[in-house]
Amino acid sequence: MLKTAYFPLVALLMVVSVIVGCSKSVRYGDPKGVETVTIEFGSTDLQSIAEQMTRSILTSPLVVEGKRPLITVQDVENLTSEYIDTRGITDSIRTELARSGVVRFVVDEDAMAQQISELDRQADDEYYDQEVAAPKGEMVGAAYRLEGNIRSIVKQNSDIRDVYYKVNLQVWDIRTGILEWSDETEIRKVLE
């Protein structure tokens, strides 16, 4: 009788231990590994887009002549309904291109305010030696601008969710308005 009276208690403890017992441990992962945690736009997508686009620019006539063109970067416009911080894409592209050493970048729209404030600060002769201070009026404008957009098509039924991303980038000659380079890359993800 005593044994059977314990039965509900044991059963309860078992249920509780199943719920509580599966504690998770922490480990470091590979930042460059394939990430498929959810179907949303993720690190693998960002990295492969940035890489593919950078390599494509590197082989374009714009770069190979060795003239180290000056480029300004504009944000990749997000035309999807997903919260994607596209600045991550442009930052990665810029960093990788800068590493290759074949192009140079000038201050873009977002960083302009900081640039102006720094020039203003240095122009103050009370604190700065004006002989070596950066003078105003000597910034160099870009010859090209890089811009682009990301679109998505999402389809879903009760069993499957299918997301298709298309990223399109272009480099425009600012003086002439000529399209110097353009490329696109696609990603398709399926959640079953």
């Binding site: 460059k32 990788e96 050493g101």
Partner: protein, 127 residues
């Protein structure tokens, strides 16, 4: 004959095979200087058929033909390690990129070196 001897003979035989295999690669037109292929982990039913390099305008371009010998569709991941003249790894590791294969499909994976210093590449593939 001791077990050791047997094993050494096997090793010699295997390394001879590997040498022959690499010879047949380097003999191909536009072949990469070394063109190593690394299969990571327990990857089965996948074969790199050919790997060729072309240097255009000083930038190395690489083409790798990969066959999925499995009868089902699958997603694999690959990356390249770019090496300079001394055989040292250039810059950061690349990100792993997923690639989708239909059953028995042969796919050409192409890539471009990140800069002019790259003279060779290693192709890595995993499940």
């Amino acid at each position: 004959m001791s077990i050791w001897m047997k094993q050494i003979r096997w090793l010699v035989f295997l390394s001879g095979l590997i040498f022959l295999a690499s010879c047949s690669f380097s003999g191909a037109k536009n072949a990469c200087p070394k063109g190593d292929v690394v299969y990571l982990g327990d990857i089965e039913d996948v074969e790199v058929i050919n790997m060729s390099c072309i240097s255009k305008d000083g930038i190395l371009r690489i083409f790798v033909e990969v066959e999925n010998t499995k009868k089902s569709e699958r997603t694999l991941a690959y990356r390249f390690d770019w090496l300079n003249e001394e055989g040292l790894l250039l810059g950061d590791e690349e990100a792993w990129k997923p690639v989708y294969f239909y059953s028995k499909e042969i796919k050409t994976i192409r890539s471009t070196a990140p800069n002019w210093l790259a003279t060779d590449a290693k192709f890595l593939i995993k499940e």
